[in-house]
């Protein structure tokens, strides 16, 4: 992840605009290409989740294998806030963010001084603990049945109110969240804070020697990432009109890693977005032909890790570099512009 000052100082860049245009117009053309509105909702929610997750995996180099748990915690928090406290969209979303963030903050206390594979193993353990508690503590979570009948609450601005009961309405709420989040995360990852995260990924010991509190940085980025997962979870609870246990399982926590890696989260800000889109489109397109589409997707993933672990974004950067070299431009200029 190279950076140059012109790109990183900007709040809005070409790729951000492109993504906003593409996602913003999606409800208009998604059915024309043979897909459906709800797919757009799913994609955006998982994009939000994946962008937050990539703060850990791609930027800080922390392989969390239990992140699905925080998506689930956000979804349960959203549902419980709605049922038990106050059925207001903003309040419930805030509850999802805060509760997932708090769980993340406590979890990070145990994780943030670890690194590498030990970090991965401990994150699996925590993910499993939350999964088991959610599946057995039926008084709160309804266990395997899930929290049912979570409502899609109206978007209330005081003077005006929009209903999001149809998928297009919910889609635009998710889109608004995405639009804010993508700009904030772009700035964050290119701020001094983001640079230290990248430095920790490269050499944690050296960052500590320079005098930065590495553990504090890791703790804070883990908490932030969990809070974003909670936000995605709150939206997911509305999309599914329920909060279910399955996203908290080890399998789903692994699949988010798989999505981010296939897209190229290691080398690009946009990796998670590409990966999520590819995963869901593959699920629907391959899934239409074969029951065992995950077999083929998994094979693709294995081959990618073997030959091109930088993912789609890495392949794109290679191509861009090659084109640039042919035109006789500086070989690195293009890849930097991709961020």
């Amino acid at each position: 992840m190279d950076y140059d000052t012109k790109q990183t100082a900007a709040w809005v860049t070409g790729p951000i605009l492109l993504s906003l245009v593409l996602f913003g117009t999606l409800p208009l053309w998604v059915e024309a290409v043979g897909l459906y509105q709800y797919l757009g909702v799913e994609v955006l929610i998982w994009v939000i989740f994946a962008l937050g997750f990539n703060l850990l995996l791609g930027y800080t180099g922390l392989p969390s294998f239990g992140h699905g748990a925080f998506l689930g915690i956000g979804a349960y928090a959203f549902g419980l806030a709605q049922f038990e406290v106050w059925a207001n969209l903003w309040f419930c979303l805030a509850a999802a963010v805060v509760v997932a963030g708090l769980f993340g903050a406590v979890t990070a206390l145990f994780l943030s001084h670890r690194r590498g594979i030990y970090f991965a193993l401990m994150s699996i353990a925590f993910g499993q603990i939350y999964y088991f508690v959610a599946s057995k503590w039926t008084d709160v979570t309804q266990g395997e049945d899930g929290l049912l009948n979570i409502e899609r609450l109206p978007v209330d601005f005081g003077v005006v109110e929009f209903s999001i009961r149809d998928n297009a309405g919910l889609y635009y709420l998710c889109f608004a969240v995405y639009a804010v989040l993508v700009v904030v995360l772009w700035r964050l990852t290119n701020s001094p804070y983001g640079r230290i995260l990248r430095a920790i990924k490269q050499n944690q010991t050296r960052v500590a020697f320079i005098g930065y509190p590495v553990t504090l940085y890791k703790w804070s980025v883990f908490t932030l990432s969990c809070a974003i997962a909670g936000l995605a979870g709150g939206l997911f609870a509305m999309a599914q009109e329920g909060a279910y246990i399955n996203v908290m399982s080890l399998q789903w926590s692994g699949i988010i890693v798989l999505m981010v890696l296939i897209g190229g989260g290691f080398v690009s800000f946009w990796g998670p977005v590409l990966g999520v889109v590819l995963y869901f489109v593959a699920r629907d397109v391959l899934g239409a032909y074969t029951e065992t589409w995950l077999l083929w997707f998994g094979l693709m993933f294995v081959i990618l890790v073997m030959f091109k672990p930088q993912g789609i974004a890495g392949i794109w950067q290679d191509l861009a570099r090659r084109v640039a070299a042919r035109r006789g431009r500086a070989p690195d200029a293009v890849s930097r512009a991709e961020g």
């Binding site: 590498g116 991965a120 353990a125 603990i129 088991f132 798989l258 073997m306």
Partner: protein
Amino acid sequence: MLLDLIPHLINGLALGLLFALLALGFMLIIGVMEVINLAHGSLFAIGAYVALAVMAPDGGLPYAFMEPYYALPAVARYLIALAVGPLVAGVVGMGLELCLRRTYGADPLYGLLLTFGAALVLEEAIRLVWGSSEYYLPIPSGISGGFIAGDLIYSTYRIYAAVFAAGMIGVLWLFLNKTPYGAVIKAGAHDSEMVRALGYNLTRLRLLVFGFGAALAGVAGIIMAPIWGIRPVVGVDAVIPAFVIIVLGGVGSFWGAVSAGIMVGLVVALTAAFLTDWSLLSMYLLLLAVVTFRARGLAGKSSVLEA
């Protein structure tokens, strides 16, 4: 009251020794390849499914073709299963190692991710061949059933499983510590580049050790099959205790893994006896309690995995 606990303790011991056997294969692979093999549970499942195909007429092999074979006594088929299951798991493991070669020397995360993908693929492949339904591995009548001693009922199979696993662990210890092959494997786990520098064929060593670790997973899968049942997700159920045991016992310690395995087995079995729903959670709480105070587990040494 205390006597009532004995069957649970035996169950826990059987479970723990099987977990330990699984975890030791997992650890051999970590040692020599520096890879966390998330597909280890899938190899465990493959052992179980292959044993099922060898043992039971509805286990996946074409029945008409195999009819004379199924006329063999159950004991003979069981012994064949015990040989063929680990063999197939070992061969699949070697195939996995061939794929893994490209990740050596890179970030160990890539190995973890590759084996996660492989676990996904193997699980789906199992679904493709055997479907999603649950099977039970038939066992010869000599080791099935139970008996009564005192006022308590003991399951014969659990005792057989504990003895079998303990025997395997003993043989493995002898192999690693008393034979020249074991010495090379241990040296490879300590410093694989140095082993290469001394003139050993490291490429072949890695292939064989991965195959051997996979075969151990296959054996554990067969012995566990009558206790847990056989279903596609059994791989995930198995790989998690294996990694818990490795973290708990400490990477690189043989007896650390064995004692951690027994601890986990006993804790799981005792919680299962009193609080059925929470039995697997207790395993993680044990892990957290130990690792919070001893970062490298009970007997772990500093290792490459922390980089």
